[in-house]
């Protein structure tokens, strides 16, 4: 790795030395060990979509090993950037192969897609969050089917996969222990929920605004510049991740 590479990896002589020793098996193993937390972090980001956490970590680890094997230190790209792209690609492929979680019946999948579609337009038309009755009136679904679809949307695997994993231009490594401003992961936060560090800056920000600043989802959506529906989904996913004992 040349001395004038930008980024932290280029400045870490140990990592540079390990890549210089590639394809030495011990160097490869050490690199995999060092960057395993990145793979685990990315696997967690794809959680809550109907696949087992252990399976996702396995897929992400495979992506990491591929990234280590294919990384070219002479190119001016940080390894974390390259590895993140490779691992996320591997995880997306995994989801594409599997689609929905196996426990979601076809009829519920179809209902969920229908509900999500209708909900988006109702939100705009009504200028507020729709009720279940609003959705029932716009579809051929029963109230029970709509509720089932809303619950099942947590297991939906494809709609949200193309969303950025963090703020634009950041990689997962930047999100772990990075410096934030108002929504910094302070000692007070960490004492309450140690897993906050595993969330992206945007997810932490949403939690901070909702639970420390008492803002509504509508206000947060305006502040961040995303839809209320998106805020709602990110809030739910973040809280689920904090509760997850894995």
């Amino acid at each position: 790795m040349s001395q004038d590479h930008p980024g932290r990896d280029a400045e870490d002589p140990v990592v540079a030395d390990l890549f210089a020793r590639m394809p030495d098996r011990a160097a490869r193993d050490e690199l995999a060990r060092r960057y395993l937390p990145l793979a685990e972090h990315l696997a967690r980001r794809f959680g809550g979509r109907g696949q087992q956490h252990d399976d996702l970590v396995q897929v992400a680890s495979l992506g990491l090993v591929n990234a280590i094997d294919r990384f070219d230190p002479s190119r001016e790209v940080r390894f974390t950037t390259f590895a993140t792209a490779t691992i996320v690609g591997e995880l997306k492929r995994y989801f594409r192969d599997r689609g929905w979680g196996v426990r979601v019946p076809r009829s519920v999948q179809e209902a969920t897609m229908q509900v999500n579609r209708v909900m988006g337009s109702l939100w705009q038309e009504l200028g507020r969050a729709p009720t279940v009755a609003d959705i029932v009136a716009r579809t051929d679904l029963t109230e029970e089917s709509v509720l089932e679809a809303l619950e099942a949307s947590r297991a939906y695997t494809s709609a949200s996969l193309d969303e950025p994993v963090g703020e634009a231009g950041t990689v997962a490594g930047d999100l772990i222990g990075g410096h934030d401003e108002r929504f910094d992961v302070s000692e007070e936060w960490l004492a309450m929920a140690p897993k906050l560090r595993t969330l992206s800056e945007r997810e932490r920000r949403i939690l901070y605004l909702r639970f420390f600043q008492d803002m509504t989802q509508t206000e947060i959506a305006e502040e961040i510049g995303i839809s209320q529906m998106h805020v709602s989904r990110l809030l739910t996913q973040s809280l689920e991740r904090l509760r997850d004992p894995a």
């Binding site: 009720t131 809303l150 309450m192 929920a193 639970f211 008492d214 709602s232 739910t236 904090l242």
Partner: protein
């Protein structure tokens, strides 16, 4: 709180499967109170966090939820475990689930006695608990 109808009471083993059941029932009741999808989701989260808080507090065998629509467009909820109160340990000041519950609901109370530990709160429209 005033209500002329009987509460819905659901009870099961103090396990994750029961939490999922409580969440589903909460959502169903909320939908019938004409809450919007955001309120329903936040209600679901509050039930989830209440059950999580109680299960984190100590080893219990049963988990119970009592849910009572109020005369207003609200719902009164009590989530309870049968854990001996003396064995229950949660620091409200540093508990993340407790903070979430307090923010998403009204009149949240955590009580502990010999018969168990309980989280009670109100969601939707209506007077304070």
């Amino acid at each position: 709180m005033i209500s002329s109808i009987e509460p819905i009471v659901v009870t099961g083993p103090a396990k994750a499967e029961t939490v999922a059941l409580l969440r589903t029932i909460a959502a169903s009741v909320a939908a019938r109170r004409d809450m919007d999808v955001v309120a329903i989701e936040e209600f679901r989260i509050a039930v989830d966090e209440a059950a999580t808080l109680l299960l984190l507090g100590g080893h219990a065998s049963r988990l119970e939820m009592s849910i009572l629509p109020t005369n207003e467009a609200g719902v009164e909820v009590r989530v309870r475990t049968d854990l001996d109160g003396s064995a229950f340990h949660i620091d409200r000041a540093t508990s993340w689930p407790w903070r979430v519950i307090r923010q998403l609901t009204r009149g949240a109370e955590l009580t502990v006695d010999d018969g168990g530990a309980q989280v009670a709160f109100l969601v939707g429209e209506g007077p304070e608990a």
